[in-house]
């Protein structure tokens, strides 16, 4: 009963959020100065051409009507046609999405590994120089955003010691035998590890740049959560049972500490994905974010709309999944 009510309210708020997103996207685009039609037309188009196009895009109707026409189309998966690429927006956007998802996923794995590792070290060797070092690392990684890490990485491992690739998703000379745009995944499934390595060599720096701030967030949250947990009576009791400290942390403290960390990581993961916009630009990585900036620069309104909406849906979905996971992993909530 309560669980059902919780899920219902969650669905309602999600719907409200998505509707709000749609309104904002629509509004921002419509207040754009300059006539969108004028941008679509070649110079010297006649007034009749303009009027025809206006009618075609529904721009001659009232703003509210326009919104609902637009919303109806969007809900049917019709995001319109890109002005600059002249293809179906949904097709373009979905084609680019895998690149961004793979990059984000790689970054998430790196961030979790570093974050959990650092938090564990700081807890295992608390009140020693190790904990202080972790604090300093966290402090630096937290205040410096991904954009700067990206630049610093390009300089060090791209220019000074050219170990990794600094631009693109995969070397253009490689022949890709793939049927989907999930290159990394497909190269693994098809045992084409040469391509995997090439992909990773392109992805590793942008992924680390994206991961560092999140790693610091995870490390800091988990560390303070662990600190609290380590002072709980059940951890003290576990110590009196004769278990070594490492097992006490792993078995008794970690599971409890990770739950609150996870809820906050959900929001942070959306920040990470948001970060791909500029990081993809920086590394000329052919993902959604890079496409988005091109779209803005080209004033390609349908494409911008499509990308922003896709990001919004993705973010809302992530938050929903994190909430569900939290409920599943927490016995207190699972058993009502």
């Amino acid at each position: 009963m309560d669980a059902l009510r919780g899920i219902l309210t969650r669905i309602v708020t999600t719907a409200i959020t998505l509707f709000g997103v749609a309104v904002i996207v629509f509004a921002v685009i419509r207040i754009a100065p300059g006539d969108p039609i004028a941008m679509m037309l070649p110079p010297g188009a006649s007034d009749e051409d303009i009027a025809r196009l206006r009618a075609l895009y529904g721009l001659d109707k009232s703003i509210v009507e326009q919104f609902f026409i637009w919303l109806g189309n969007v809900l049917h998966g019709d995001f319109g046609t890109s002005i600059s690429i002249r293809q179906n927006v949904l097709g373009i956007v979905l084609g680019r999405l895998p690149a961004t998802l793979e990059l984000s996923f790689l970054a998430l794995i790196i961030a979790s590994t570093i974050g959990v590792g650092l938090a564990y070290l700081a807890t295992r060797y608390r009140e020693t120089a190790a904990e202080g070092t972790v604090d300093v690392i966290n402090g630096i990684a937290l205040s410096v955003p991904d954009f700067l890490w990206g630049l610093a990485l390009i300089l060090t491992f791209g220019v000074a010691w050219p170990i990794f690739e600094i631009s693109g998703r995969v070397s253009p000379t490689l022949d890709l035998p793939f049927t989907s745009n999930f290159y990394l995944l497909e190269s693994l499934v098809r045992f084409r590890f040469d391509i995997t390595l090439n992909l990773l060599s392109h992805m590793i720096m942008p992924a680390i740049a994206l991961a560092l701030p999140l790693a610091a967030v995870i490390s800091q949250l988990l560390k303070s959560s662990l600190k609290e947990t380590m002072n709980q009576d059940y951890v003290m009791l576990a110590r009196t049972k004769g278990f070594p400290e490492s097992r006490v942390i792993a078995r008794d403290a970690m599971r409890n500490a990770i739950l609150p960390t996870m809820t906050l990581t959900g929001v942070q993961l959306t920040f990470l994905i948001g970060g791909t916009v500029i990081i993809e630009r920086l590394f000329s990585y052919e993902g959604l974010g890079n496409l988005a900036i091109d779209a803005v620069i080209n004033r390609d309104l349908p494409l911008i709309q499509g990308i922003v909406l896709l990001f919004a849906v993705l973010f809302v979905a992530i938050n929903l999944i994190v909430d569900l996971l939290y409920t599943l992993l927490n016995p207190r909530l699972r058993h009502g």
Binding site: E127, Y234, M236, T240, K241, G242, F243, P244, R332
Partner: protein, 303 residues
């Protein structure tokens, strides 16, 4: 008598690592004989929990035992390596913690929390450990032990959880149980049931019990002997009858008079006289001065 004490803490001093002249425990002697129930009494800051933490080798890193010996069943604990010490302690002693609401891990089922020490350290098979857990839960008067073993802590009431913790403490048949204010967080009616249960289990298993509390009423009901702490120093070590009949130290006497009792409203809850506090503090200061003058050089050399 001291020779056959099961727990023998002798001349234990604990200092802050940051200020090694500052003692938190001041040359404490404490003995618990096999099968004895001893109360350890003091107000907050008296150092009672510090003693418990020393026994289980879980002192915070900010403090350090600088001298004295802790002997458990004839083994000198401070001479062992850290991991060996923990195993030794775990086999010989167990803790009943203060707050049943926080002493069980919320994300683990009860079964593992009773049996983990048996399977992981004492080499029980999973089946044997489970059988043992069932027996223990029956001993602490839990009606449907099977269900309780499968439960998570939040599915049990506070009194139930304290019973589970008591059962877990007796799991490995320890020779010594340290009960750290096990009833402070409970309502009085539940407190009485739990005290009765602890006494029953103690008698049944013949375990030595060190009962840490601030409540002289509880001491009177459950302990045979008692050690009173003030400011990290033992001010009284006597049997419980003697404690109430003729307390040797003025602070103990004042503490008894400060304890509320409904049958004598006008002769209880009397504030501890300032001169008693002053005198006791002076005593401690004097002992500290002597201690420092003897060990000042070594302390400096060490830090």
């Amino acid at each position: 008598m001291m020779a056959d004490a099961f727990l023998d803490i002798a001349d234990l001093s604990i200092v802050l690592r940051s200020d090694r002249a500052h003692r938190l425990l001041r040359s404490v002697d404490l003995h618990v004989n096999p099968g004895e129930v001893r109360g350890l009494v003091g107000e907050s800051g008296a150092g009672k929990s510090m003693i418990g933490k020393t026994i289980f080798d879980i002192l915070p890193r900010a403090v350090e035992a600088v001298e004295g010996a802790v002997t458990l069943g004839g083994t000198d604990l401070l001479a062992l390596s850290s991991n060996a010490r923990r195993r030794e302690i775990a086999a010989a002693a167990a803790l009943i913690p203060q707050d049943p609401l926080t002493a069980l891990n919320p994300v683990r089922r009860i079964e593992g929390q009773i049996t983990d020490r048996l399977t992981a350290i004492l080499g029980f098979s999973k089946k044997a450990a489970r059988d043992r857990a069932l027996t223990l839960l029956e001993e602490v008067h839990i009606n449907d032990p099977e269900r309780v073993l499968r439960s998570y802590p939040h599915q049990l009431s506070g009194g139930m959880r304290q019973r589970v913790l008591i059962a877990a403490a007796f799991a490995a048949e320890p020779k010594l149980i340290v009960a750290d204010e096990p009833t402070t967080a409970l309502d009085v009616t539940v407190q009485k049931q739990i005290l009765r249960l602890i006494a029953e289990m103690q008698a049944h298993h013949g375990t030595a019990l060190l009962f840490v509390t601030h409540d002289l009423g509880v001491v009177a009901k459950i302990c045979q002997n008692v050690t009173v702490l003030f400011g990290g120093k033992v001010v009284e070590d006597t049997d419980v009858k003697g404690l109430f009949a003729h307390p040797a130290h003025p602070y103990t006497a004042a503490l008894i008079n400060a304890t509320p009792r409904y049958d004598r409203p006008d002769q209880s809850l009397l504030p501890v006289p300032a001169d008693v506090i002053e005198a006791t503090r002076a005593e401690i200061a004097k002992a500290d001065a002597e201690w420092l003058s003897q060990r000042g050089q070594t302390l400096k050399a060490a830090s």
